[in-house]
């Protein structure tokens, strides 16, 4: 490039100033503060003391490990369902049938609307007395009486997952659809000429070629699901009896509802560690993929 020949060029750094300022103020500094506060007993009053590892000891000895396990269970189930339904959806929308342009448009709404508003609608549907799901199930004879989905531990757990899947599936579907459409048509034609069946072509061409996208999307969904707050907070606030309390919800309750900022901060540090390792895996995956197909590397 012509302009890189100049020795010291501060212009690119100048261009990065606004974005960097925002990131330092809103993300980097607060992150550092979280780390620092996690070693204190800070609460409502401005005075606080450093308490060493006390907060970490506290959360490790109490029911927090249970919360961690539940978070992973919640996330694993949700991501698995999103990937499964999303892949099936992408395959269906990729079929060359009349109306496919319309179908693609119709997939998107859960993703573009405010999450909270979508969750209000689900809140109504889960209503045991008058909601659609309980009502339909009774009509079909699956349930013999009204069923309050959000009132029982297992059903509330599943209900929050279903809503999370509903919000996440459009993104997965359209992302995998884009990946499928980027596969060269020549490959399919060559296989077709050789007499390969449609299912064989899917298994031997489509699936291996979109696998990198599936892996990428699974990690991105895992990160988003791990961070999920609105859905659980609106539907159950972590209840009933803690059945839907994930790490994010537990942290929010500790810090914002009970004002134990120090203990909350220690929980946040744990969350950041988990998220950091997901992101690390994500970057390793991306660089692996970039190496494998140097022409396509971003």
């Amino acid at each position: 490039m012509a302009h890189t020949a100049k020795k010291k060029d501060y212009f690119p750094y100048l261009l990065l100033v606004p974005a960097t300022l925002v990131m330092v103020a809103i993300v980097a500094y607060p992150l550092f503060e979280t780390f620092r506060l996690s070693f204190t007993n800070t609460s409502m009053s401005p005075k606080y003391e450093y308490v060493g590892l006390a907060n970490y000891e506290k959360i490790m000895s109490r029911r927090f490990p249970e919360v961690i396990a539940r978070t992973f269970y919640w996330m694993g189930l949700s991501v698995a369902l999103k990937m499964l339904i999303g892949t099936l959806g992408a395959v269906l929308l990729n079929a060359m049938v009349p109306g496919r342009a319309l179908f693609r448009i119709l997939v998107m709404p859960p993703w573009v609307i405010p999450i909270a508003i979508g969750v209000f609608i689900w809140g109504w549907m889960y209503n045991g007395q008058f909601g659609m799901l309980s009502g339909m199930a009774q009509r079909l004879g699956i349930l013999s009486g009204p069923f309050e989905f959000l009132a029982y531990k297992n059903s509330a757990f599943m209900a929050t997952i279903v809503t999370d899947v509903w919000i996440g599936v459009p993104m997965v579907t359209l992302y995998l659809l884009a990946a499928m459409q980027s596969i060269s048509k020549d490959l399919y034609e060559a296989a077709w000429v050789d007499g390969a069946s449609r299912f064989y072509r899917f298994r031997r061409i489509t699936l291996p070629l979109i696998f990198p996208s599936i892996a990428t999307m699974a990690l991105l969904s895992a990160i988003a699901t791990f961070n999920s707050f609105d859905i659980i907070w609106i539907l159950t606030e972590g209840g009933p009896r803690g059945a839907t309390t994930t790490m994010i919800i537990d942290t929010y309750k500790t810090a914002i509802s009970r004002f134990k900022y120090g203990e909350g901060a220690a929980r946040t540090v744990m969350i950041v560690l988990f998220l950091g390792s997901f992101t690390f895996i994500y970057f390793v995956l991306l660089s692996r993929l970039a190496k494998r197909s140097p022409n396509n590397a971003a």
Binding site: D9, P12, T42, V112, I115, G135, Y261, A265
Partner: protein
């Protein structure tokens, strides 16, 4: 032919699509039907999908029963707009820097920006709350705008960078030969050429900002007049006797702006939000 399906394959595909779209769209249909029912019809047992006396009554009465409804909607719109504008001010120069200039640590710096995407507002809520409290920023629009801005920047930089990389360098070189300054080149040469890419980033940022206001407003704001729609409606959602038909009517009216944007610009949005599938 390659894409010729047999009749039973058509049946299978359309049945699959029908099941899939039912899952995706049923809540919207249900919300619409609920918004049309009078309250007495809502609480009917056994459950009926269609009841008598459907009307648009709730769409009129909701403005009276939720007196600040128009305020909530304007607030949502206002917050999302400011987040988008501030986001673009940060995104455009940064994306240009990453797309066009070689400088030490460029790739790792880009990686750091992208890595911010792993957090959500929920992770940073404690220190942000303390900071806002300290500087007296709680219960202001700023408290809801600032965190939103930070989280539209990484994706925006990523999207716009991949667009800018594809613009021929000769354009800028010609401008420099003509004696144009660097900032002049960015504003007068690059931005006009990159406009389609900037439109995608703008829409993506706006939709994200409109969709993710809940936790900031819930935590940092307790002044009802400043609440965006999700939190404004949440107060009604939490009550013992929820006026469901009005809540659904208000929710549907609240998502109209984004659905509108979406229907007209969906091609750009899908391109923007799924970018990377091909390249990565």
């Amino acid at each position: 032919m390659l894409h010729k399906y047999r009749w039973y394959e058509y049946v299978l595909i359309y049945c699959g699509v029908a099941v899939f779209l039912t899952f995706v769209l049923a809540p919207f249909v249900e919300a619409f039907v609920v918004s049309l029912r009078p309250l007495s019809g809502l609480f009917s047992i056994p459950y009926k999908f269609i009841t008598d006396e459907m009307s648009f009554e709730a769409y009129f009465s909701m403005w009276k029963n939720v007196p600040l409804l128009w305020r909530y909607m304007l607030n949502s719109f206002f917050i999302a707009t400011v987040v988008t504008v501030l986001g673009l001010i940060c995104i455009i120069p940064a994306a240009y820097a990453f797309a066009r200039f070689e400088f030490p640590a460029r790739n790792s710096l880009l990686g750091v920006f992208i890595a911010v995407n792993m957090f959500s507002g929920a992770v940073l809520i404690i220190p942000l709350f303390k900071l806002m409290q300290q500087y007296g920023l709680l219960n202001t629009y700023f408290a809801m705008i600032a965190p939103g801005t930070a989280f539209v920047i990484p994706t925006g930089i990523w999207l716009l960078r991949s667009y800018l990389v594809r613009i021929p360098k000769e354009l800028e070189e010609a401008a420099w030969v003509d004696g144009a300054g660097k900032i002049y080149t960015l504003v007068r040469v690059i931005i006009p050429v990159a406009l389609p890419g900037i439109v995608v980033v703008t829409i993506t940022a706006f939709i994200t900002a409109y969709a993710q206001q809940f936790i900031y407003a819930l935590t940092f704001n307790s002044v009802n007049e400043l609440n965006p729609l999700p939190v404004g409606l949440f107060q009604f959602f939490g009550r013992q006797s929820v006026v469901w038909n009005e809540l659904m009517a208000a929710s549907l009216v609240g998502i109209l702006p984004v659905l509108f944007v979406y229907v007209f610009l969906q091609r750009y949005i899908v391109a923007g939000l799924t970018a990377g599938a091909v390249k990565e």
